[in-house]
Symmetry: C2
Subunit: 392 residues, 2 copies
């Protein structure tokens, strides 16, 4: 297995990639920003893509005479049942290219300009964008470091829900903090949504990337009363490292909800699955688990290394070990940097991190670090950061 991971992938090969991670910055920079992993993809995915290529099979997909979107829906439902004890109805699962499409479409379908949308902050930038770019009011439910973990205040949630809120967007596991919300936290969110008749959009794209000690709970699987007011967005692209293949699903918890959505945004507007995204996703969900398990072991070691090294050598940086995702949220306020933290590490260390202010207004002292790379590259990234601080 390990020979499939980054040790088998040379830096030169990574630098030849045409992806955001490896093309955004120049050759002097080590990238740890955008959420791509440096690992090769799983063997079943490679086999599926190679088969498509060898057949030159680029017509309208109808694998085995079945509709591609339907196959995706069934594979997704099966995987949720197998792994997360949740059984979505495949008839209420629709395909799309990526989760951001689904977020935009649901915000448009289920709210009107001026309506409030509750978002856990800090937030994946495109969640915020789906709210603000569509002229909805962003109601920020801040996750605060309570000394042990990032958590929200139920009283704040209740106050926000009372402010003409129509939607609640939950990102769980949470990007960028790495939180895996507990049953109690999810119940608090769901019960508040019930009280205020909110529709809940749930981004669970990191559900597969959960570390020892934590357990992902699907919001819609917790309670039928939550399910009927929920749309769950998911994709194999994050955990199987194929974001460029563009394939995702939206699972509606209730037929009426899907009908209401379709009135405003006919699913045809979201597009049909492309053959490579379809093949890769089916292969990932059906045959990718051994690869994922091996990658999780690597990622957990990388996470532990990041936390250990930074806590020891840069105690002014506050870091909580993420329970999931391959992203670490670093609060560098204690460093009292003269510029934004991302600019500092880019210029002084040649390390590209995601800027905190993209995740939360006023967050420029924070950065998000992507640790899904090889042990070797990770050491270089950490050492460059520490060297900069030492020189500093």
């Amino acid at each position: 297995m390990t020979d499939e991971l980054v040790p088998g992938r040379e830096l030169a090969a990574l630098r030849a990639l045409q992806s955001d991670k490896w093309r955004r910055f120049g050759p002097d920079v080590l990238p740890a920003h955008v959420a791509e992993m440096d690992y090769p993809v799983a063997a079943p995915i490679r086999a599926a893509l190679a088969g498509r290529i060898s057949r030159q099979d680029y017509g309208y997909p109808l694998p085995g005479g079945r509709d591609g979107g339907r196959l995706l829906a069934e594979a997704f439902a099966q995987r949720m049942a197998d792994r997360f004890d949740w059984s979505p109805d495949p008839a209420l699962v629709i395909p799309m290219g990526d989760l951001v499409q689904g977020l935009y479409a649901c915000v448009l379908a289920f709210s009107d300009p001026g309506d409030g949308v509750i978002v856990l902050m800090p937030s994946y930038p495109k969640i915020r964008e789906a709210v603000t770019a569509n002229a909805r009011r962003l109601l920020a439910l801040t996750l605060r470091d309570d000394g042990e973990r990032f958590a929200f205040d139920p009283a704040e949630l209740e106050a926000l829900a009372s402010d003409r809120a129509r939607l609640l967007i939950i990102c769980n596991p949470h990007n960028p903090t790495g939180r895996v919300f507990s049953r109690a936290e999810l119940r608090a969110l769901g019960e508040c949504a019930e009280r205020h008749n909110l529709i809940v959009l749930v981004d669970e794209v990191h559900a597969d990337l959960v570390y020892t000690g934590a357990r992902h709970l699907s919001f819609a699987g917790l309670d039928p009363a939550f399910a009927v007011r929920s749309v769950t967005l998911n994709s194999a692209t994050k955990s199987f490292n194929i974001p460029g293949l563009r394939c995702a699903v939206a699972a509606f918890g209730d037929r009426a909800l899907l009908q209401r959505f379709s009135q405003r945004i006919p699913p045809r507007v979201l597009g049909d699955p492309n053959v490579f995204g379809l093949d890769a996703t089916l292969a990932a969900w059906q045959d990718g688990q051994p690869w994922l398990a091996a990658v999780l072991t690597e990622l957990e070691a990388a996470r532990d290394r990041v936390v250990t090294v930074l806590r020891a050598a840069a105690p002014a940086i506050r870091i909580r070990a993420p329970e999931a995702t391959y992203l670490a949220w670093l609060d560098c306020s204690g460093l009292e940097l003269p510029v934004t933290a991302s600019d500092y590490f880019l210029r002084a260390a040649g390390v590209a991190l995601s800027p905190g202010q993209a995740f939360i207004p006023g967050g420029s002292a924070c950065v998000r670090l992507n640790f899904a790379t090889s042990p070797t590259l990770l050491e270089h990234i950490l050492q460059r950061m520490l060297d900069a601080l030492t020189r500093g």
Copy 2:
């Protein structure tokens, strides 16, 4: 070149494809329905896809550090300028997965339920569906066989435009009749749109597939007054035989039009290009012309063969040689068949054709025949049809 075409592709290889054309029906049926070609794809496309595979390069695309959508827009604009004497502004070109998304989105963005939408009939089924599924009124502008060609009546167009029409959808070259509209016809459409302040959606996906004697004119390139009220939809997927890769563009003829569109349908709802669709489309538009020229020669021979054989051996079938597309529209009314023409040929001949009633209400005596296959398979298809008619 010819060794790249179907003679090099065995029937067994075609039957192994997972596409609509080769999976919709059983092994006793020769498919000539959905618009896929049986030809292998162009060498530059194969090279681009193979490069992506060999690099395992599935991150967020940023080829050479450039935005994928922007590269597509520029390649499209360049190709239109080179081939069709039209220079769209790349800043007003947005990517999407397929044209049907664009049709749906434009119908939603530029009209309201109950508004009239003029559609040339018979029509590609999903154009009609984009109108009727969104509760707009379909205003049918019928193309009638005037003894030489399929043409519309300008007086009918004028009457329809007066019936609370908001949109005019032009499919040019036209599916399923194969018409390439003349400058005079396009001007009549454009001037009517001006008089009645219609927005014009132009599906030009067959623009590359035009035969000797005809010339494709881009509607938006004919007159700046037409351009400003137009959205042109196009894709390399049809002419380069890669529909499953899902990559298309919409070119807005005016900034205000794109802004109006984005207010109602933020382009983010349409999705971002997938890496394979992006690579293949850039390769097709930039390096695919020699392949396309060779394929057009094959297709024109196939078209001529269909027309010659059917006119000679089945004169009761009315057929006009299509000026473009690899689709022939056959009016089988003269055969006085007891069932729909598509059912007849499927059951009696084992040939799958697209049913006429999907293109126009009451069109069940018509079928659409896809002749983009090898000379050998085409002979089998035609012979099976003629044998069925002989038997009776």
